[in-house]
Homo-oligomer: 189 residues x 2
Amino acid sequence: MALRHAVLAALLDEELSGYQVTKAFAAGVANFWHALPQQVYAELARLEKEGLVAGREVVQEGRPNKRLFRVTREGLAELEDFASAAAKPAFLREDLLVQVQAADHLDTDVLIERLTERYAFAEAKAALFEELLRRMRGSLDEAEFLLRGARVGPYLTCRRGRDFERANRDWCRDVMEVLRARQAAGEEA
Amino acid sequence: MALRHAVLAALLDEELSGYQVTKAFAAGVANFWHALPQQVYAELARLEKEGLVAGREVVQEGRPNKRLFRVTREGLAELEDFASAAAKPAFLREDLLVQVQAADHLDTDVLIERLTERYAFAEAKAALFEELLRRMRGSLDEAEFLLRGARVGPYLTCRRGRDFERANRDWCRDVMEVLRARQAAGEEA
DNA sequence: TCCTCATAGTCAAGAAAGTGACTAGTCAGT
DNA sequence: ACTGACTAGTCACTTTCTTGACTATGAGGA
């Protein structure tokens, strides 16, 4: 049930609309958690019913009205509770890992296509995170920001996201190199 | 539906019992996918019903009988199909990331406890993967094994697992450093 | 003018994953 | 004699996640 805590964490620093929260959890920019709009709205409704977040209607002109949510005192207590319990470590769970696991029994060229796609995706996502980090830092250099900046939490998680995608990119590169070298060695024989 | 393909991939190189497959997917040694015994057995049953794996009973003395499974031609075709479609990239989805995201609103000492736990876990798991890699390599050095060893697939996924846990460990270390430095700076002021 | 994108959501259904409990025999140690 | 760990599984249930479709309005471009 970490989505509920992820939503709470997202709302800590500013009041956001449900729509804005869904954007934060969207595929491209999910810097610390990912979820679809339907999940987010459902979770917000549950959180509001339980009094962990409070919503208020904001009437807008030129576009649909929206509801802005903020975390209540009870919501913060819930988060503190969550943080006080041991976090369960996550597992790597990638389709591509399954495909590479079977590499010795599959067509190398097909696998290299998959790796190339994943490489490009990882590269793009790492660049996006890098850009987000730059914006969070503002004019400060990193060491300065980490020591004195407001809100390092989102910065630190974003950095993990960037490094994760960099690691994915590098792994894809290495695996492609290995597969190509073996292919060449095989043809030679 | 990647568990089914993960199970197929696990059975590619050798005939295994359901129990052995559950061990391969267990928390400690899940080098490319993770699942509980119940999930594994259920998936094996489904795969057998669909003719993607074939099981045979092996009578044992001194311990319960077991069923050994192997991948059929249809099963391999299914895996090839799976590999020919684009793999969907996974997201980082860690409780600890949610906790760190909220770092600016939570107690630093509590968070450092969580980070210390995760650090130790990551370190242990990375060491386990390292040991597995050593065993897979045997007497060959890595470059030699990657070029000429049999079955590099499992080796490459295991390496990703090791690097993932190393990255987790390093991130935990860095985050703790940042949080401690801010704590010290705050007390000083 | 039509088409698409962005805002701001909602509903229903299904697949996948996780939890807890339980059977049953063997072996090693206290 | 009892306890706990290992082998080898199974049943039932719940939560979580994903898929797909659908409602509105307004702005900008071809």
